[in-house]
């Protein structure tokens, strides 16, 4: 039986659970960050991302319902996270649709679930199932630590090339979805860690959280990889990371 980890070791274990499967390192993310994608690829991304993140507030609501009143700070965090996704400012999915429309998609095309990959639908189903059935600390570990806390690291590599005139050449307004999430998910991710560190208070719960984070990171990594396999590989072939020289030349063009 594993002993109860102290807070520092538990946090290290949660972070370690994502090592090797960070979505920023998946082929689609790397092709994006190195300027290899076309607008049609971004349309495909917007469709699938809508059906992945569109489930997020619903899932937080399920976790909220499973969280006891004695964990009031955890409930408040979940409610605030939902509010910020949906109401506090522009609705986040509307910002995502704005980007998709700039790339040539229609709102209807993005919102039509039939246009998403089977993997995306499966991932959304996994999120609902986990959120509805798991202890709130375990579900928070998966949804917030495993999925949401990765967002800043992904978009910090993808956003600069989006608004670079020598890159994809979008405006800041077109890309507000990304800029907003770089910073807001730093806060959500950190608060998520605090909830998990506080309420996973038995060895069994801690281990369940570590497994849930590993599973979530794996889901997101493979979802991102599937985007490349489905939409980009037919155009660019197998993903090969540009050499340092190629990257330098590309940055000078």
């Amino acid at each position: 039986m594993t002993d109860l980890l102290n807070e520092s070791d538990f946090r290290d274990a949660l972070e370690q659970a994502m090592t090797g499967t960070m979505a920023k390192d998946a082929s689609f993310s790397r092709a994006w960050a190195t300027g290899k994608l076309d607008r049609k690829h971004f349309v495909n991304w917007a469709v699938n991302h809508y059906h992945y993140v569109g489930a997020f507030a619903d899932c937080l609501a399920l976790i909220y319902a499973n969280t006891p009143d004695s964990a009031r700070d955890a409930k408040d965090f979940l409610l605030q996270n939902m509010y910020e996704e949906e109401l506090s400012d522009d609705r986040h999915t509307d910002l995502l649709i704005r980007f998709g429309e700039v790339c040539g998609a229609t709102r209807e095309q993005i919102m039509d679930r039939r246009n998403a990959m089977p993997y995306t639908k499966g991932m959304a189903g996994w999120q609902y199932q986990l959120s509805a059935t798991q202890h709130f600390a375990v579900a928070t570990a998966a949804m917030v630590v495993g999925l949401e806390s990765q967002v800043p690291s992904i978009y910090r590599t993808q956003y600069p090339v989006l608004i670079d005139e020598a890159g994809y050449g979008f405006t800041e307004h077109d890309c507000e979805f990304f800029d907003l999430h770089i910073t807001s998910d730093e806060v959500h991710g950190e608060r998520g860690y605090q909830i998990v560190l506080k309420y996973a208070d038995t060895p069994a719960l801690q281990q369940a959280c570590i497994i849930a984070v590993r599973e979530a990171a794996d889901m997101r990594f493979n979802y991102t990889k599937s985007l490349y396999e489905t939409y980009v590989k037919p155009d660019l072939g197998e993903w090969v990371e540009p050499t340092a020289t190629e990257a330098r030349v590309a940055s000078l063009v």
């Binding site: 910020e84 506090s88 800029d179 907003l180 910073t183 807001s184 730093e186 806060v187 950190e190 605090q194």
Partner: protein, 120 residues
């Protein structure tokens, strides 16, 4: 290791060299007592005055530019929007509120929120 000194509450936090860290995230993680509310550059509650280390900060983001306006030139930043990759010293007014909270519009909204249901 580089560090952020939160002077108002006399707290210092370190982070690994070579990393670029979000100032509000560090403040929340280490519970340094920096006031904040929305965490997305909208309310302005987490504004900080940069006393040292401005050269280590990312350029101001769009929401930060829109929210702070001329305060940026006075050395203020929003902790939630700011990343640092070196030593930093910041301070703030411990009683500070969001930038709209003293406005006429905010007063009207508050009056409406707090009004008894039968008086609206």
């Amino acid at each position: 290791m580089p560090c952020i000194r939160f002077e108002t509450t006399d707290r210092t936090t370190e982070y690994p060299a070579g990393e670029s860290v979000n100032v509000l995230r560090m403040a929340i993680r280490h519970e340094v007592g920096l006031p904040w509310k929305c965490g997305s550059g909208r309310c302005g509650t987490d504004r900080i005055l940069v006393k040292e280390g401005a050269d280590h900060l990312d350029a101001p983001r769009r929401r930060e530019r829109e929210r702070l306006g001329p305060l940026l030139d006075e050395g203020y930043r929003l902790a939630c929007q700011t990343y640092t990759s070196g030593d930093l010293v910041v301070t703030w007014d411990p009683e500070q509120k969001g930038l709209d909270e003293g406005s006429e519009l905010h007063a009207k909204l508050k009056e409406r929120w707090l009004a008894a249901p039968d008086s609206t």
